[in-house]
Assembly symmetry: D2
Homo-oligomer: 271 residues x 4
């Protein structure tokens, strides 16, 4: 869509690795709607992925930042505000579990890895908002969005410690959203997206079977990365100014379905 | 269990049809714990079922009442309070959908039948509480419980208009619970029970496949009618005095599971 | 805002009484975004209000319909589809409690009035969707929205039986949304709006004090009718195609705030 | 109450500092109901408090353990199982935020302190369950309970990073509850308790005003520590065997009240 609904809006987009990333699709959609932004990712992700291609396409700069480093975050925000003035939107699309990567089960976690994944996936969101808040870097009626997953509310056996990280992330959105709303008139929300086959997601065990299940359960089917980008655009726009502290399910209806006929049929025919 | 935790407590139990009923099991459990009660059901259900057998076993009286009739409810409460004095516990276990019985789909409902089912399944709970409230029939720290189902929160294709009835019922529990708490120190809660193969439940299409699915999804398996009775006893007891306005899932964990390994496996092997 | 994001989209808007109505503001916003629609309301509301003024302003037709009458709904849909072809959006903004109007307390309800209010406020939404479904009147990726209030989740002493009506309405959104999604690729959501001083709302006892409380509790303050209209536009647009079966809080954050500093201060200074 | 409903059951109780602690009251109630247990706390808390007095009263042993140390947890579990055989119940009542203690605001957190508080308040619950799971220390139908607070769901300006810790803790209960249910038939739940004036709670800024607010909002008033102990006993008992993965509000109804008349009145008279 190209309706210019983000014309004049400036921001920062975290987490575009390659063209399967939700953050990548979001950057494209924001650009098509007239928004301008700085792209950022961890140095290692910048090397592994193809973010420079995206930067060229969207006429953006890339500023490397380790989202767990307050120094990197401050530098990033300073670069962005020097270029744009105060900011209107932020996308936090960052998540990583060392325990998942290394195949450790949830009943046998390594706690150093747990801490690392929590810092990257969840605390980074607090550090980012605290840095934005202290530097007074957001415009009134700005919008901050982080991506999350329904494992924060319900048990999914393979989502592992990322479930707890997402619960923590969503809580940060509420807790910090209170202060960002009261003091700065800025909204903070999380989007709880359908399981999505990104490069990062490919590491999760049994994802294929699970994607199939989620799709069968969802009245409109799984939401794609591109659709998530469109939805994020709506949350950055002025159409949604009074939506804050919410966890918003963008999942084809999955979250509010108890069971679908297809799933009952599959289970029944099996047994 | 027989620990006498309801010793000295008196109440009314609605909805015991036969020995597969949750209300039947509850009556037995309450009796075993030292509680005394009046049994009630609609006249037609009394004729169809075997409630007199239960009455004998639990040394109770049976007072017929149509739960949609204010007159019948008043009479019932008067009989009970004349026998016992003020009451300590109430179980509302009543539900019926004409549309389900007659096989009408949710996208093709008959609205007279809808109204009838709503009145029996949901409004009856308000009528009951309004009658108890006006007659000042409950002791302080009394406990009122109604049975419900998770279709009030999530779509289940075969649960039909009972889903909406249960949502209304749960809302009544909160709305009336506010006043019963403030004015009478009485608690009001709903128990959201696993799907249970009662005589009433047998009418729901596809229940077998669904019971199997729910069991596979629940870390502790489906909760039985007897277990629901035990749980209800705990909510009638003095161990739970400050729990009110809650919808309490008694379902082996079903409500907070996104998917189980068994369900992923069944779906995957199928496709 | 005028970004043409509803260009080419056609629909029906229920419930515009006068220029304080959320439906009125929505009609204006939809019109400004390029959408076309039929306006409807109950004959009595058309006489009492000023909908013809709105119709002129938005180049719309007015088709009277009692939303509890299947015949009226069918006629309305037929008029709309004859004019537009299949429809893309529907707004249901209808609510009325006779018990509230007549000052009956929640612990002393008149059940005929309860039934009337339930039929108008909640069942009308099912009747509307069943009529749309049977007439196959919605385009794929269409969007159906109903307005609701957080009293469906939590007790508000003065909201009376409207709380239970809203709970029933939200349940219908989920239950029917399942079938509308699976069979027609249409989404169904409810917006849970801040308390809003509409002509209808003026009847609710103690609304002023409550509006003040809600505003103090909400990090971004209460959402206005105009802001609700903007949000509804986003839900009618193609930016939100995979959002369905959701109850979406549009309330300045009220729903996820436990307490605000202002409220603690007010309580503390009082006592 | 003394109904012997925990007769024959053995367990571990964490977090009894002094006789204002919920864990202290729980130990007394469990003892009165026939349960046996080991008491534990951090060495510094044992020195500061009066746990030995409780141990004497309840004929229990005290085993010091730092709940963030896997070694200490293993030792504790080994001591308990050597004494009792497999265990039936666990109470986790541990929480501490360095940022709260040192008066750092949520928008100005120290991240080393954040990490420390998270490890003590939340990760300790995973470490405890992982140790119990690996050592196969729980009997079938055992019950694990952790205490939490509604700040995990809604923003409370003074609850600070404890809100996020509690959200993480509740997520652990669901995530680990899945495996403990499937593999061991053990249930895992959290109790979300009214604000309670314990020695630990005294550090939270503005607690008095908030306690007053919560009490005014709750139809049954705030739940006391003793009442929480009674409720915990019910969750350890066999009356609640199929309740798992739940966050259970024990709060006099606070969680499901939108506003109370008292609060509206206080706000209105103020302004």
């Amino acid at each position: 869509m190209e309706n210019n609904i983000l014309k004049g809006k400036k921001g920062i987009i975290f987490g575009a690795l390659d063209n399967s990333s939700i953050a990548w699709k979001t950057a494209e959609s924001v650009y098509n709607e007239g928004g301008e932004f700085v792209l950022t990712n961890a140095p290692v992700s910048i090397r592994m992925g193809s973010i420079n291609e995206l930067a060229e396409k969207t006429k953006s700069d890339v500023v490397p930042a380790d989202a767990t480093s307050l120094e990197d975050l401050e530098n990033l925000i300073n670069v962005a505000t020097e270029k744009f003035g105060k900011l209107d939107f932020i996308l936090h699309s960052i998540g990583m579990s060392v325990n998942v990567r290394k195949g450790r089960e949830y009943t046998d976690l390594n706690y150093d890895w747990l801490t690392k994944g929590w810092d990257v996936s969840a605390v980074s969101f607090h550090k980012l908002m605290q840095s934005l808040f202290k530097l007074d870097a957001m415009n009134q009626w700005g919008s901050i969005v982080a991506l999350t997953y329904i494992a924060a509310q319900r048990a999914f056996p393979n989502y592992n410690d990322m479930a707890d990280n997402k619960a923590y992330l969503e809580s940060i959105a509420r807790s910090f959203g209170y202060f960002f709303g009261k003091d700065k008139k800025v909204r903070v929300n999380t989007i709880s997206q359908s399981p999505t086959l990104t490069t990062a997601g490919k590491g999760v065990a049994g994802l294929d079977g699970f994607l199939n299940y989620a799709d069968k359960m969802s009245p409109l089917g799984n939401a794609t990365a591109k659709e998530c980008a469109d939805y994020t655009v709506s949350l950055f726009s002025d159409y949604t100014r009074k939506v804050t502290l919410q966890n918003l399910f963008h999942d084809g209806g999955f979250s509010n379905v108890g069971v679908s006929q297809e799933v009952i049929d599959a289970i029944s025919s099996k047994s």
